[in-house]
Point group: C2
């Protein structure tokens, strides 16, 4: 049996032992052992860092023996006197001292781990996830989890100070047929019926406003049964908020205060507020994206007017068909983008749906892919229009405007990464406003709501509701950081008549409305203050603030792409009795 | 269409308008309207309270007209000048002032609610739950939800300040066959397999200690698919914590600091610490319960010795069979407990399994149910032993000791309630320590673990493991408040060999161990610090601190006893496609 800690009480975390002369008691895992014959050094690790334990010829023999039998990852508690070290290590907080041990307890032995617990690791993900509890011993992961805790702490502090109440909403709720696929939970008491895990607390938070709670926040677990992409988890955490008696600017202002406080307190980074704003239309025109990364230039420029007289069929056709000709100037891109590299870009553009890319590559002199169609001075005119100079690469796309923007938006990002012009320490937040209200469903040739159907349209665009859906804009907005959508928000419809009109514009019948949104619609008949809110992805924020590559690195026990957890091997089969009692049966098994 | 709030910004919550002379903007729901011909008073309500709006002959006519058309629960925003009231209302924070309105907006109209929004309500629960969003407008419920928020806030603050990290653990986890019934979630990707909702994050928090996170806390949603009793919800929130390099007393000390801080900060109530402690054995002997309410006396007293020579067959037999004779002295109970009332107690005792109750009812003179068996002086001896005096009622039970204690423990509570001797404003916390390790499973005549099988036994009782399971005590404890179990905690086994021994003592084979606890057992092979923790019922604490009668009154959107939510009518049927995609089918429907 292992030693007990009887009679010892930890006085310091390992990382806190910095001052010589004190007597301390520390506990932790054996990080490394160096046995130099008469002297043994054990580096002990806990969540705050490491400290060196010293055993030498002054050490009690029994303790020395025990030290010499320790191995990596053994759990120790040690009492001793903090002494100044002979050879100091400036890189460590505790590098000036070591502990001369006078009492040592082996609290637990450890098998040799399947991989070394080191800051850097080349072990494959699968093994690390199977032994997640060991991977979580590595300092970089511990730091991420601790930073995530800090993020959540500051989040709550800020919103609480601003009058928000954290109110817990149900995890077992009604399945709503909208949006992504629900995770379902069979009911035992009501056989044949199901609960659903929330995709978000949207309905409940709106009801809380109907109830008059005025300002609500929740760090809420949300669930979506979707096929996972690299940066998705089946369960994730949302900073979910809702405010009453406010307009869009009030909500944005409140969230700006939050962002500024969060980055200052957790990272010591100053985010100037108010944050910049772009309308959806401007974002598309300038960056070809509704979540533009504004940390670098290469903005899209409309050169339709400049090239409209050029006798180049590609340009002419695009313009004739109502499209446009647009360009990005990849500053200093000429050297990197050889003909071969440009060809790759063209292939990429074709993958997006463009017919191709024209270009001007200005190495020593401007080399233009459509030179032969140009009259004298026309090349200079184009270069001047996009401010191109020696060393630059101008990429031009002519097509339907939608295609042009999507293409150049994607190409812009690729070039920036290739040229390595995206500053890593910059945090470019951006509001995208005046989002479109409807999206065109090409398959069914109909207009569908771009947001949930309780989203308020902008007053000015109400007149287009019946006649010109494309031009109806929503009181909805996104918060974008470095090209990632962190959050969306909107004002909600609180007026019956308008709500009815919106449903009709979406082609819904009264029966459908009642079936899908019955109790929520009813609630609004009893009076609701103007309200709106946002849902901010906590995991995403944590990932960015930890400079992590994946959500896995900021989630204690993540699932992999097929939604399973490798450590516990979940999901798993359950016994028949468990299913019988629920009144359900399995029709098809994975392995069959 | 309703008015907009354009140009107005709320400056004060209703309850904050206390000072005459200012111009303010408020928003809220119409609580009451008094129309006195030329003068209209509207009482406007928000989550902070109410304020009176004044409309009189000075008021702009259009505004006056609008005010006169308002009805209960309309949502208004009003700008105006705060004036001193003519007839003051001392009961209200805002009772000295009223707002002379210069701008009024009707932001939403309201249908007449199905019940009045008043502090007291006699409406039946079902209707209130169907219109939960309206019931939540009532001040007493709002205050509960706000207090619950405060409780959670102080909880996090305290534990964060003490070095705990809040780490989110998965909601979709492996189904473990132990404990209560799991809620299951069919997997779409892995057909035939299921996730389970956590009954608690027990396994994950232990793994976090294995990973070295040292101090963990989470306000964690937990789920149990049990048949609900009055004070249960299928989902509930647990203040879940775990600490490393500590013993039981360290954990209890930390939680005591929390309790003291919580009650002081939220209720202004001083809870002296350290909290009193009772061993499980003492609690059973003195109160006949492992969660004794110590706010009143009536303690159980062992009078076996005193009565052992009395020639009363009931006592004699009990003693002869190894049982005991015990009594409670219901102080001043004689007047209330007439013969008829005592008969009811006896019936109750029989319901618990006792053969009956003997008694001494000392109204004018001691009236003893077994008088005829007593020799001279014996009645006085018994009265003296239990300190009975005129006015008291002594209730005596003779049987197997287990039955005696259970009976008197229950009768004690009944009498205290009947006599109304339980002080409502007292908060009697109590640690129950040295819990038994095994429970006897009478059905299968075997010993089973009383706690989860990772609970550490007390070192001193290890020797009884094989020979005398009844005498093995656990390093497990409960926190009791006013007779309610708030929390249990334990130290966990971190030593392989001991763990193996414990499993064997529970009659488990290696295969069973692997199937049930495989990955967790594996984790402990790689070294774990001594650790333990607790799970504290947040909903229960909130209920007690709100003096609420039910968990429903401290839960925003509760479920009823059959686990359904009346507002959204969940659970509900889902379409076949949703089930097909999961590879499951419904065998039996509730309605069939």
């Amino acid at each position: 049996m292992a030693d007990t800690m009887k009679g010892l009480k930890r006085t310091h975390y390992c990382g806190e032992v910095t001052e010589a002369g004190k007597e301390v008691v520390v506990g932790g895992f054996v990080d490394r052992i160096r046995d130099k014959g008469g002297v043994i050094f054990i580096v002990l690790r806990d969540r705050t860092g490491v400290v060196q334990l010293l055993f030498n010829d002054e050490t009690d023999r029994a303790i020395f023996e025990k030290a010499s039998s320790c191995k990596s990852e053994y759990v120790l508690m040690a009492k001793g006197e903090v002494r100044e070290r002979e050879s100091k290590n400036d890189k460590l907080k505790t590098g000036n001292v070591e502990i001369f041990v006078t009492d040592l307890r082996t609290l637990a032995k450890a098998q040799t781990p399947p991989f070394e617990i080191t800051n850097e690791t080349k072990v494959n993900d699968e093994l690390r996830l199977k032994y997640r509890y060991l991977d979580l011993r590595r300092a970089p992961l511990q730091e991420n989890i601790i930073r995530r805790h800090e993020i959540a702490r500051v989040t709550r502090e800020y919103f609480y100070e601003n009058g928000f109440l954290e109110i817990e909403t149900p995890m077992m709720m009604k399945s709503t047929p909208e949006g992504a696929r629900d995770y379902l939970i069979p009911s035992r008491v009501h056989q044949g019926k199901f609960y659903a895990l929330p995709q978000s607390p949207q309905i409940y938070k709106q009801l809380l406003m109907v109830s008059g709670f005025d300002r609500y926040i929740q760090l809420a677990r949300c669930f979506r049964d979707e096929d996972l992409r690299a940066d998705r988890q089946p369960e994730f955490t949302q900073i979910d908020l809702e405010m009453s008696f406010v307009d869009a600017e009030d909500i944005q202002g409140c969230v700006e205060g939050y962002i500024s406080r969060l980055f200052s307190e957790v990272l010591g980074v100053d985010i100037p507020i108010p944050l910049p704003r772009l309308t959806f239309a401007d974002a598309m025109n300038r960056y070809g994206s509704d979540k533009p990364d504004t940390r670098f230039g290469f903005e899209i420029q409309d050169i339709t007017d400049t090239v409209k007289d050029i006798d180049f069929v590609v340009f002419k056709n695009a313009i004739a068909e109502g499209g446009s000709v647009r360009a990005i100037n990849v500053k200093n891109g000429a050297a990197t983008y050889t003909r071969k590299e440009i060809d790759k870009l063209v292939d990429h553009a074709k993958g997006i749906g463009a017919k191709g890319l024209a270009y001007i590559r200005w190495a020593d002199e401007p080399n233009c892919s459509f030179r032969k169609f140009l009259a004298d001075g026309e090349l200079e005119k184009i270069c001047s229009a996009v401010d191109a100079h020696e060393g630059d690469l101008v990429l031009i796309c002519a097509d339907r405007t939608k295609t042009v923007l999507a293409t150049l938006g994607a190409i812009r990002l690729i070039c920036a990464k290739k040229l390595d012009v995206i500053p890593e320490d910059k945090y470019n937040f951006l509001w995208i406003t005046e989002m479109p209200f409807f999206e065109h469903d090409d398959d069914n040739n109909t207009w569908v709501a771009a947001h949930h159907p309780f989203t308020m349209p902008m007053e000015e665009s109400l007149e287009y509701l019946d006649t010109d859906p494309e031009n109806v804009r929503a009181k909805a907005w996104d918060l974008v950081l470095n090209g990632t959508e962190l959050s969306s928000g909107s004002m909600r419809i609180t007026d019956f008549e308008l709500q009815q009109k919106m449903f009709e514009a979406l082609g819904m019948t009264d029966e459908e409305i009642q079936a899908k949104f019955g109790f929520l619609v009813d609630a609004y008949r009893y009076g609701a203050p103007p309200h709106g809110g946002m849902g901010i992805g906590l995991d995403r924020i944590a990932m960015i603030m930890c400079k992590a590559d994946s959500l896995r690195d900021v989630t204690a026990f993540p699932k992999v792409q097929n939604a399973s957890e490798l450590m516990s091997e979940c999901p798993s089969y359950v016994d028949d009795e468990s299913l019988d009692v629920l009144g359900i049966s399995v029709v098809k098994k994975e392995d069959e």
